[in-house]
């Protein structure tokens, strides 16, 4: 009897607490209480589990669709997570270092920055690439101009950063023809093979237009957490 009462009580208590957690709220310019932050995560999780099953399919690209789009877009695929999204150009600029900087972003604020097409930072993903030194020469053709040392800084440690140093060799794998959604481009395939100073190997691939020097497609390492990403220029 007593045991039964206790279970009932525990259940009622659990339900009450869950309700309290779900019904809690905060307003005004003060910090949110801890229990509310946890509550929000619980709600989000429940929403994801029991909410309407919304399984968005990435669009199927056709040349006709791409032709109807005026603004430049790139396609980014995160290989390990098997995720694909289409990004718009947020900023193009130069600084005192050689190479043109481009920042591309998704609607929900994930961004990738490139210098002459080479990844120099990611933002909005877990395991941020804070900055990178890349062999851009700013002399026309995009992609790596030479082999040599590369340094990446990633978020890590206690609110700090850790560096990954690579020694790279650049190889020209020759002329190829590259197809992107119904259009074929004559390209040169460049490959960087890099070995880490503390072990590990990175292979970056670039497909660069033989005439214009534009980087049409690449596969680049975005760090220990994100892994490799594939990038294609789908609309110029």
């Amino acid at each position: 009897m007593r045991r039964g009462m206790k279970t009932g009580l525990t259940r009622a208590l659990g339900a009450g607490l869950l309700l309290a957690l779900l019904a809690s709220c905060a307003r005004g310019p003060e910090a949110t209480p801890l229990e509310l932050e946890i509550g929000k995560v619980v709600r989000d999780q429940l929403g994801q589990r029991f909410g309407k099953a919304e399984k968005p399919q990435p669009p199927t690209l056709t040349r006709a669709l791409l032709d109807s789009i005026k603004e430049p877009h790139i396609e980014v695929v995160i290989e390990e997570a098997e995720l694909r999204d289409y990004l718009t150009l947020q900023l193009a600029r130069r600084d005192e270092l050689p190479g043109r900087i481009e920042v591309w972003r998704t609607v929900d604020n994930i961004s990738f920055a490139f210098r002459d097409g080479m990844l120099i930072s990611t933002r909005g993903l877990r395991g941020t690439m804070l900055s990178a030194s890349v062999p851009a020469d700013g002399q026309g053709a995009m992609g790596p101009a030479s082999g040599g040392q590369r340094t990446y800084a990633f978020r890590g440690d206690d609110e700090g950063a850790f560096d990954v140093n690579l020694a790279c060799e650049l190889q020209d794998l020759g002329a190829e023809s590259l197809e992107i959604v119904g259009l074929t481009y004559p390209v040169r395939h460049l490959q960087e093979r890099c070995s880490g100073s503390r072990g590990g190997e990175v292979v970056n691939d670039y497909w660069i237009d033989s005439r214009s020097g534009r980087l049409w497609q690449s596969r680049q390492w975005a760090g220990p957490s994100v892994g490799y990403i594939r990038i294609r220029q789908v609309v110029i």
Partner: protein
């Protein structure tokens, strides 16, 4: 610049995006080892497995291994009526500290165990590494287990461990052998060194049992551990006779000195084990491994808006004129634009002072644990919204209207450095950290912010530990909080607490020779609806490097009154000095508006010193709530991400007899930040203060809004250590 996206993608943009953010994060979290051959992430050492006491070791016996620095390893173990909750922390690379709560079940039908069916005991351990493992040399450690108080588990040992990777065998083999005293010297002794003291029944405890350490019988113990992939197998020879447990407690029979076990690494954080002990019993362990430097979930923050150089959007000379600063309406417009831009990043503009080439923004950060990140976002917002002639940015993080510190940087540096390699170091090199000062008379205070009202309804849990009959008690309910700020620096705050369920009220009544300033918690727990807090607070900067606070009202459930605090803390100094004076009265048990008769003038002079390896030393000397005079020493490892792990003790002029059990006040503190757990920006953390016994000596009033913690976060050392987050 644009938000247009593919039309097809727009049909379900939210879902697609959520997939990319949410699922990406999850997938990455669950497969941390999946990076095939690419360079590994921030080094994450594999910790040694733990024993039944939660220490690196075999099954019941310890080994000489150390955990990775700063590791925090809670574990549970159970066999034969012996339940242990262990908290193990690697305080320094060569020192581990542990706190343990144990229960021993009584199996003797004729006699209780020290008067209980289950006897609960709390104990502390310390272990030191004497030397690390070399190519031929084993690692050697010396340890003192349960080194103070009753010493029920009191043991000392010196132990050596050597790792082998034999070619004939896959995996790794660890061989351990040692000598034990006390409990670990009770079976198969080979020698006797002097006479071992013993605990005197009725003593208040709490003192170091130096008369026992490394004395009495010495016995050898040994064992092996073989690990391969996720699996581990252990075998040991134990030198613990379990005299009490097999004797008067009659809880099990010890038939053998050999123990065996199998362990499985279920995840990076969790290891599970099953064992057969002493020839008669089965046992289990669950070992959790956490490290403040490796978040449970990696942080994910929405990408910032990049800085656009002024040369691209203000190419003409005329746009760089300073004339706008003469016009109030232009300044108000700039303020509102800035406030709007900050809002996008969840930051609040308190005020802004605009001059032709300079701007000072005072901000309130209620979202990000890192002030550096908040500063970075503010600098970007300023670069985005302020007229081109403004070249110098001064940003002042504030808390309740009080300026905590200031950073000054040049807008052209922001423009030049964002995409350079090592951008964080480069910008930090040209950033100045200064005293916050007071806001200029010209400052445009945010009109939509003051007067401000805030409120929240949230559940609460209020635990109570170590009642000998029910070791863990808890009250659960809802807090209704409200705050009102009429102007910068002023705050009125209150909390009404409604309990739904709890058993703290059934606890032990206090008994104390002192004024019961804390031990009558049971009396305070008799009421369901209480006014937990209601106070008015004023904060201001009385001078250079000085911070001040004055508060009046009901500060906590037990005390209310007046409180004043002054803190001296230069932005570049590792040292801070504070002075706090309180006149408080004990509140009525029902916690409405009334007071009891007891009042006291209590206050402390405090010194705060930032030490290497994130250690923070705090010494407070003064008068405590029961009128006793003395000092508190606390040493806390304070991580930038909000993890805090520390210990404290207080010695006052109250004698051990008057103090009661434990002889003097001491305890450990632990804070685990929400952001570390969930990987989302947050300023909150789970805080825990555990005292082996709660008595009345050496107690301080808990005043809301003490200054040091907040001020420190916006000063040079903290900002410099987190400089990587500025651009994030």
């Amino acid at each position: 610049m644009t938000r247009r996206n593919f039309q097809t993608a727009q049909r379900s943009p939210a879902g697609l995006r959520r997939m990319l953010t949410g699922v990406a994060g999850l997938a990455l979290l669950t497969q941390p080892l999946a990076a095939q051959e690419a360079p590994a992430g921030f080094a994450w050492e594999t910790p040694p497995s733990l024993n039944f006491y939660g220490a690196p070791g075999l099954i019941d016996m310890p080994s000489a291994e150390m955990l990775p620095d700063a590791q925090f390893a809670p574990s549970l173990s159970y066999f034969a009526g012996q339940g242990r909750v262990n908290l193990q922390a690697q305080a320094l690379p060569w020192m581990t500290l542990a706190f343990r709560y144990t229960g021993i079940r009584n199996g003797n039908p004729n006699q209780l165990l020290f008067g209980f069916n289950t006897y609960y005991d709390r104990n502390f351990d310390v272990r030191f590494r004497l030397w690390e493992e070399g190519r031929y040399r084993p690692a050697v450690a010396v340890g003192l287990q349960d080194f103070a108080g009753t010493g029920l588990f009191g043991s000392e040992y010196i132990v050596a461990t050597k790792t082998f990777e034999p070619e004939a065998l896959p995996g790794r083999l660890k061989v351990t052998a040692g000598l034990g005293w006390g409990r670990f010297g009770s079976q198969g002794a080979i020698a006797t060194l002097g006479t071992r003291g013993s605990f005197t029944a009725g003593d208040t405890g709490g003192e170091l049992s130096t008369d026992q350490w490394f004395r009495g019988d010495v016995a050898p113990f040994a064992g092996v551990e073989w690990t391969h992939g996720k699996w581990g197998v252990k075998a040991e020879y134990s030198s613990d006779a379990y005299e009490l447990e097999t004797g008067s407690a009659q809880v099990f029979e010890r038939r053998s000195s050999f123990n065996f076990g199998v362990e499985y690494q279920a995840s990076r954080q969790l290891r599970l084990g099953a064992y057969y002990l002493y020839g008669s019993e089965f046992g289990v362990t669950a070992q959790i491994q956490m490290n403040p430097r490796h978040p449970a979930t990696k942080m994910q923050v929405p990408a910032p808006t990049p800085v656009v150089p002024r040369s691209t959007w203000a190419p003409e000379e005329a746009l760089w004129s300073e004339a706008w600063a003469e016009s109030r309406s232009a300044r108000v417009k700039a303020r509102d634009l800035l406030a709007e831009a900050l809002k996008q990043d969840g930051l609040i503009l308190e005020s802004v002072t605009l001059e032709g080439t300079r701007a000072e923004a005072r901000i309130r950060n209620t979202r990000y644990g890192s002030e550096s990140l908040a500063l970075g976002r503010t600098a970007r917002a300023m670069a985005r919204t302020l007229p081109p002639s403004v070249e110098t940015f001064r940003i002042v993080p504030t808390a309740r209207g009080l300026g905590l510190g200031a950073v000054e940087l040049r807008r052209s540096d922001l423009e030049a450095l964002e995409f350079t390699p090592e951008a964080a170091d480069a910008l930090w090199a040209v950033t100045g950290v200064q005293d916050a000062g007071v806001a200029s008379a010209e400052a445009l205070v945010s009109e939509e912010l003051y007067p401000s009202f805030s409120s929240s309804i949230s559940p609460y849990a209020s635990p109570s530990y170590f009642d000998p009959s029910v070791p863990f008690r808890i009250d659960l309910g809802v807090d209704l909080k409200a705050g009102y700020s009429p102007a910068p620096g002023w705050h009125i705050g209150g909390t009404i607490r409604q309990r739904f369920w709890g058993n703290v009220a059934d606890g032990r009544p206090g008994n104390s020779r002192l004024q019961p300033v804390r031990t009558d918690a049971r009396e305070y727990a008799q009421y369901d609806t209480t006014l937990n807090q209601l106070y008015v607070e004023r904060r201001w900067k009385p001078g250079h490097n000085l911070y001040a606070r004055a508060s009046a009202g009901y500060f906590e459930s037990m005390f209310g009154g007046l409180s004043g605090e002054v803190l001296w803390k230069p932005v570049n100094s590792a040292l801070g000095l504070g002075l706090e004076l309180n006149y408080v009265r004990q509140r009525d048990f029902e916690q409405r508006l009334g007071f009891q008769d007891y009042d006291v003038l209590t206050g402390h002079a405090s010194a705060y010193l930032e030490l290497p390896k994130s250690y923070l030393l705090q010494v407070d000397a003064g008068r405590y709530l029961a009128g006793d005079l003395g000092a508190t020493v606390s040493l806390t490892r304070t991580f930038n991400n909000g993890w805090r792990l520390g210990g404290f003790f207080t010695l006052t002029d109250v004698s051990a007899e008057d103090f009661g059990e434990g002889s003097f006040d001491k305890g450990i503190t632990l804070t685990v930040p929400v952001a570390w757990l969930l990987g989302q920006p947050s300023r909150n953390g789970y805080g825990l203060t555990i005292r082996p016994t709660q008595r009345d000596g050496g107690q301080r009033v808990s005043v809301p809004g003490r200054l040091y913690g907040q001020v420190r976060e916006a000063h040079r050392r903290s900002l410099e250590q987190q400089r990587a987050r500025f651009w994030e």
